[in-house]
């Protein structure tokens, strides 16, 4: 008898004691300032959490932030996003902004002459050419793959006309090419190393970046130390980087990551936490925590498989979208998980975003939830499936996939649709997506830049440029033509119009696939960390050149 009573009492006592702290309301105020106007102080070691391990060390080959966060500080790029204004592209190893020929078919870039690799050899145009040749024209026979080769399909050749000049020859004028040169993955590699072994960088580090490689322990940590020969200087002429060193702690469990910051073993995690984790940290560290938040270029899509009946019928697909009250969902879900803003195919409030006035005219994006649901019911009746039933494929990752899917299923239920949540482990989920063995799925997309060429990549015809990306499995030459036209349009205002037309066609008229809610990035961190500014993605601004630690 005694044993059955004591155990729960002890357990409750422990839970109560542990939860007391977490139950306190958050008291920390948001402090979005990066440098806060204070003069940076040199020295110290930044410790930060990375919640996955880099697969290989080769930025050209991988697509995960888990590579960028620990490894980007070892490398430079041709151009990068300005750490003080992440909407601007500034030169990195380039000496100045690129020069574009009158016919817009040749891009010429002058390089800095003071850039050295970590083995003290000087960087020249041959290194930049070898780097971009590897990214754009990978030597498949030698086992080199480049997931971003398609993003540079416009390039016909990379030339090095002299020691410090690089020239990109384009097949046609491209709106996105220049900003794509600031891709955070395009680490500048040594031509000599690549010539000796094109896969050398998969297991080795040697860049021109602000930090030298100082070792790593598999599954545990990654260390970098200041590069005394780094070429970068701040606006006062002080040599960068400010930090003496950094240490990335690989912590895969989100709660363990929170614990690491709460116990001050780590200062920051650059990808993001949930609202509840932010609140826990705020309550625990009321005087030591700063928080930066920003909209995120990541979104979940509802993807009906158009090769399966009845999802080959646009009315059914529109009904699925109409049934979802995104505005109410955004308010509710943003309290518990990392989604918030309602938007079309381009990030809300981003440079290509559709205005709310236009957005609410698209099926499923109107603010009158009841009217939308009535319209959805009518469409289902007209399509002959008033009691539609299907399996809804999702991956077994809680944040934000699970709450988003649960919300969708509930919304659909309100119009008579019964969706069974078919949760699969990521690999099996991917297999289903790629084999087309699903009815409706929750897909996702994350990018480093507000750029229609990137965000529309999933909308090309599935048998053509969208192969392996477009899991709605439709072919539509009209849509292909629209996407191609916006890509070639170099006038920004005209391009916004063209993108808006694509959104109306793809999300409303054909309702092929559509966003649920855009993600929202929350970074709570120790106030000692200065000089880092949140952006709308978790890929850029990770070379740590301007980060410093307040004493």
């Amino acid at each position: 008898m005694l044993r059955t009573r004591l155990a729960p009492v002890l357990a409750l006592a422990l839970v109560f004691s542990a939860c007391q702290q977490a139950a306190k309301p958050p008291t920390t105020t948001v402090s979005p300032s990066a440098a806060g106007g204070e003069k940076p102080v040199a020295g110290g070691t930044l410790t930060f959490v990375v919640n996955a391990e880099p697969p290989s060390f080769d930025g050209h080959r991988e697509t995960t932030f888990a590579l960028l966060h620990p490894i980007a500080p070892h490398y430079s790029l041709l151009y990068k996003f300005d750490p003080n204004d992440l909407t601007k592209v500034i030169p990195d190893v380039a000496a100045e902004q690129p020069t574009v020929s009158a016919d817009k078919m040749t891009v010429t870039i002058k390089l800095r002459q003071d850039v050295k690799f970590h083995d003290s050899t000087g960087m020249t145009s041959e290194d930049v050419k070898a780097t971009y040749d590897k990214i754009i024209f990978p030597d498949i026979a030698k086992g080199v793959t480049s997931p971003r080769a398609g993003a540079y399909a416009v390039v016909s050749a990379v030339n090095a006309p002299d020691k410090y000049t690089v020239e990109f020859k384009l097949k046609y004028p491209s709106a996105s090419f220049l900003t794509n040169l600031a891709s955070p993955w395009n680490f500048i590699y040594s031509a000599a190393k690549l010539k000796a072994d094109p896969r050398w960088y998969e297991k080795n580090i040697m860049g021109t970046g602000p930090f030298l490689y100082d070792g790593n322990t598999k599954g545990q940590d990654w260390k970098g130390k200041k590069n005394p020969d780094y070429f970068g200087k701040d606006k006062d002429g002080t040599k960068l980087p400010y930090l003496d060193a950094y240490k990335a702690l690989i912590i895969t469990d989100a709660n363990a990551g929170v614990t690491a910051i709460r116990s001050k073993q780590a200062m920051i995690e650059f990808r993001g936490f949930t609202p509840s984790q932010r609140n826990d940290l705020s309550a625990a560290l009321p005087n030591d925590l700063a928080i930066q938040e920003a909209p995120w270029i990541c979104v979940n899509y509802v993807v009906p498989n158009t090769t399966k009946k009845p999802f080959d019928d646009p009315r059914v697909r529109r009904a699925l979208s109409l049934a979802v009250d995104r505005w109410t969902g955004g308010d509710a879900l943003s309290k518990t998980t990392i989604v918030k803003d309602v938007g079309g195919l381009m990030r809300p409030k981003g440079p290509f975003a559709m205005s709310d006035t236009d957005l609410v005219k698209i099926a499923g994006f109107g603010k009158d939830g009841k009217a939308n649901k009535d319209a959805a019911k009518a469409l289902l009746v007209a399509a002959g499936v008033p009691n539609l039933t299907f399996k809804f494929l999702n991956r077994n990752i809680q944040t934000p996939y699970e709450p988003v899917a649960v919300y969708l299923i509930d919304q659909w239920k309100q119009v008579g649709i019964t969706a069974t949540h078919d949760v699969k482990e990521t690999s099996a989920y991917q297999a289903d997506l790629r084999a087309g063995t699903f009815e409706v799925a929750l897909d996702f997309n994350c990018d480093f830049l507000d750029e229609p060429d990137l965000q529309l990549a999933k909308f090309w015809s599935a048998s053509k440029a969208g192969k392996g990306l477009n899991f709605a499995y439709y072919d539509d030459t009209k849509l292909d033509g629209m996407i191609d036209a916006q890509s070639r349009e170099t006038d920004p205002a005209k391009r916004v119009t063209l993108v808006g037309n694509i959104e109306r066609y793809a999300m409303d008229e054909m309702a092929y696939q559509y966003p649920v809610l855009w993600w929202y990035r929350i970074i709570p961190y120790l106030k000692t960390v200065q000089g880092w500014k949140i952006g709308s993605n978790h890929y850029t601004n990770q070379d740590l050149t301007t980060v410093w630690l307040k004493k």
Binding site: R3, S17, T145, D253, A260, S263, F444
Partner: protein, 315 residues
């Protein structure tokens, strides 16, 4: 005896080959592969995925992949991780010291707790002491070790602002830091482990205490402590040793969630990550390693039986 030992050692070979075949087939029957996973969520065209599959040899027929793997193993080469490209041996050996040390610490803690408490509970059967020990042991069974771990971290964080180090320090580099990192997980795991052993010790000691030779020992006028420790406990230990040993083998690779909670870079987490990534060479190597640990531990237990009970003879 020698023939028995040689026979047992030889029997390990078909056992491990069986495990290898099963693991190989089961993993390939599971949908999904590492390449699709690596590029999940990014705009990577299908031809890149196909190229990568070809480079990794995943487009070969299953039998050809099996022959390749067996050929490598016959050269004592466990292959390369498909995820990191590093040798499987490198991936495993960096995690082994932590897993072994945690298993040893948890076992020591469990045995130090279980055997004395189990004996006391048996000797003081149906008294308040017995009840208290039984409640304590039921608690260990009822609460998952990862939950105990979470509670420990929350309590130490809330009360002292302290949490175990998130980075593992090798024992010989800094013993204090090493212990600081492992003491809480060892207690969390060892408590549950001790609960099983404690209950086993109590019941076997109770059984032995009713044997005739114990009554004889008491009748000879031996002190109770000598009766219990020398006569009862040694005979009662056989099943306890079995439980403790099998638990030890399990701890080497089975502490996945506890390793997550304490961010321990151990074998269990590596195995789960390998399965999630469909990293076939790594999964196959780890399952073989864990199977070998179980087989060897079982063998060692059989040998310990001979030491503990001279009546046991293997032919």
């Amino acid at each position: 005896m020698r023939r028995y030992i040689v026979g047992r050692l030889l029997l390990m070979i078909p056992t491990l080959i069986g495990v290898a075949i099963l693991t190989f087939v089961i993993m390939r029957a599971v949908p999904g592969d590492i390449v699709a996973l690596r590029y999940a969520g990014s705009s990577v065209p299908q031809d890149v995925i196909d190229q990568k599959r070809h480079i990794l040899g995943l487009d070969k027929p299953m039998w050809a992949q099996f022959v390749d793997w067996m050929t490598s193993i016959s050269h004592l080469d466990l292959g390369q991780s498909l995820w990191t490209g590093h040798s499987v041996i490198d991936e495993v050996q960096v995690r082994v010291p932590l897993s072994i040390e945690l298993a040893v610490l948890a076992t020591l803690f469990a045995v130090a707790l279980a055997v004395p408490l189990g004996v006391v509970a048996a000797v003081k059967q149906d008294t308040w002491i017995d009840y208290a020990i039984r409640v304590f042991s039921i608690g260990g069974l009822a609460m998952p070790s990862f939950w105990i771990g979470i509670m420990m971290v929350l309590v130490t964080l809330t009360l002292w602002g302290w949490a175990p180090p998130v980075v593992f320090t090798p024992l010989f580099e800094d013993p204090v830091a090493n212990l600081a990192g492992l003491i809480l997980p060892a207690i969390a795991v060892g408590y549950r482990y001790s609960a099983v052993s404690m209950r086993m010790t109590r019941s076997t000691v109770l059984e032995v205490l009713r044997e005739d030779y114990v009554r004889t020992a008491r009748a000879k006028g031996l002190r109770e402590r000598i009766v219990v420790v020398r006569h009862a406990l040694r005979n009662a230990l056989l099943p306890v040793v079995t439980v403790v040993s099998l638990e030890f083998a399990f701890l080497i690779g089975g502490l996945v969630v506890t390793e997550q909670v304490f961010n321990l870079n151990g074998i269990g987490k590596l195995l789960v990550d390998a399965v999630a990534h469909r990293d076939y060479p790594l999964i196959q190597a780890l399952v073989l390693l864990l199977a070998a640990v179980f087989v060897i531990v079982n063998f060692v237990v059989d040998m310990i039986y001979v030491v503990l009970d001279p009546r046991i003879r293997y032919a």
